[in-house]
Symmetry: C2
Subunit: 339 residues, 2 copies
């Protein structure tokens, strides 16, 4: 079996230095067109191809996964999910020297970003998070021939391999715990309902209350943001008959809710119980510490990266279902006030 | 001026289809070595080079910047700097379809990550954040020939182009404000001192107190983390003569400090004034809202990306100095308690 030609072989054959070969092959400025042509001819003659260089220089493999986030930077900054998820992905792909190409974009520009990633072969596959109602991405991935894994429930992905982690049990546990503590007016401050996981959390709240034979307390939009959570909490606490417990779509909204309660002189948990979702690093340092729900975002990233590896290698892979999120009770919940 | 040759020209010259040319040039499997050699020879003859394809497919341009973060995922998750900084970078490079290759690593493995990024030409340049004392990265970048910009003070970068945003004025303003309010025992909970910006914040605190003729209150490590901030605060508040004000290295440590104060029955701001740094999204929803310092992290990302563009194009660029961080007074500071 013949030895594969190296850059040194090409240099010798073309009668130039190795640096010149490298510059010519990489189309760097400062090399005469004639020299470039001679180097390329020598490379062709010897059968040298880019894949004989470091793997990342091969045009066949990008050595990267893509993560395109169509959210406001502020929202991502305050969300503990993404850094932990990214750390999990990197734990799998970093060892082999692969990277994660991150794009922050808007829902309007998102399609163009995927099209460019595919056209320029900058990534070997993509991880789809924040699935939306009628999400255009699963059909787009098929159209672009871009390997993809859905980070969410299988039914959100239109046939793509899904890696899911269920929110429902944590919500159901939180609401059962609140009813055990005597709460009957349990409100929900929901996330943006076009986001599948926000809608799923709201549905879990509804169905659990219904199963327990309790009325659905008021539900208000909180946008997964501190601003939205604060606004909704102010509205709920100034109702003629305010709720005795509020379950929020995420920790950001819940933390802002805690501060509004304190500002209005509503004591937590004596007069109001508060539950968040995400177990963000700061929640255990809120006062009182925030009851929340913990999902293994890092493990989710690892599982998603492994699934995407399988999809890239085999064209498809089985759905993966991770252990569900767990309710984390803390001092922000207590017995319902009398009366 | 002759028209630049296209894939179609190469295909015609080699007597194969355009798809075959594309497969051969991209070293995809399923093409005979002989065909591949014929395509490469045709490409060489016509003077076709990869840059005549979509720019991202060119071996000359990766179409990406690199950001290698040697921090714990949890720390990055809670830090509002990175998402805003990344959003700023993307605002500059996203429009032309370029991406940001993010690596989460450890200080031990960081060198290998940069070496791979350079060897595989996955990025056109890198942004260096979180500069450390005796940081090995500036000399490494020169050794690797990897264009780089330092996100921090010029003296941290060993001659690399730096894009800086000064912390000092905000710290000095905060301390002057506290002394105007009668505080004389002003403690500092510092970030990891091997980080240049953490050390700079500590130095700003020291120098401002000295300039005002005040004793340096105790300084304790807070590690930029909620855990570290909570531990340091507990220690400070149980001193025989506790400080009347604490200035923290960042908001995370300060938020945890607020909760420890509440837990110990120390009223903020009546008995203790608290100042953070970063103006994280949640700080205005802490109770009481946290006085902090605001830096334009998004603008910093934009400026750093533009500087890196210049370094890539020209080999070097002038340092850039952005408007300094601004002190943001809020209800967590008040007059020093009497006695």
């Amino acid at each position: 079996m013949a030895r594969k030609p190296t850059i040194a072989d090409v240099a010798q054959h073309a009668g130039v230095s190795r640096a010149t070969v490298s510059f010519a092959l990489n189309d760097r400025p400062g090399i005469a067109e004639e020299t470039k042509a001679r180097v390329l001819a020598a490379a062709a003659h010897l059968g040298w191809t880019p894949s004989h260089q470091a793997r990342g220089l091969s045009l066949g493999k990008a050595g990267a996964f893509g993560l395109v986030l169509a959210r406001e930077a502020e929202q991502i900054g305050a969300d503990p999910f993404f850094p932990a998820f990214i750390a999990g992905v990197e734990a799998v792909i970093g060892q082999r020297g692969d990277g994660l190409m991150v794009h922050l974009t808007t829902p309007e520009q998102e399609q163009g970003v995927y099209e460019r990633l595919a056209a320029r072969r900058q990534v070997d596959g993509v991880l789809l998070t924040d699935l939306r109602r009628d999400d255009p991405r699963p059909p787009l991935m098929r159209e672009l021939g871009l390997p993809a894994v859905v980070v969410g429930q299988p039914e959100w992905g239109g046939g793509l391999t899904a890696v899911s982690l269920d929110d429902e049990p944590a919500y159901a546990d939180a609401i059962r715990r609140l009813t055990d503590l005597g709460h009957r007016r349990i409100a929900h401050v929901e996330g943006p309902q076009e986001l599948r996981h926000a809608h799923r959390r709201r549905t879990a709240w509804e169905q659990t209350l219904r199963a327990l034979g309790l009325p659905e307390g008021p539900v208000l939009p909180g946008g997964f943001s501190p601003e939205g959570g604060a606004r909704a909490t102010r509205e709920l606490l100034t109702l003629p008959e305010p709720p005795t417990a509020i379950v929020y779509g995420n920790d950001l909204a819940a933390m802002a809710g805690l501060s509004v309660a304190q500002e209005l002189g509503v004591r937590v948990p004596d007069q109001l119980s508060v539950v968040g979702y995400d177990d963000a690093p700061l929640t255990r340092y809120s006062y009182p510490p925030l009851a929340s729900a913990r999902a293994d975002a890092r493990g989710w990233g690892e599982a998603a990266a492994r699934a995407l590896d399988a999809v890239i290698a085999l064209g498809t892979a089985a759905h993966v279902e991770l252990p569900p999120a767990q309710f984390v009770p803390r001092a922000s919940i207590g017995p319902a006030p009398r009366g």
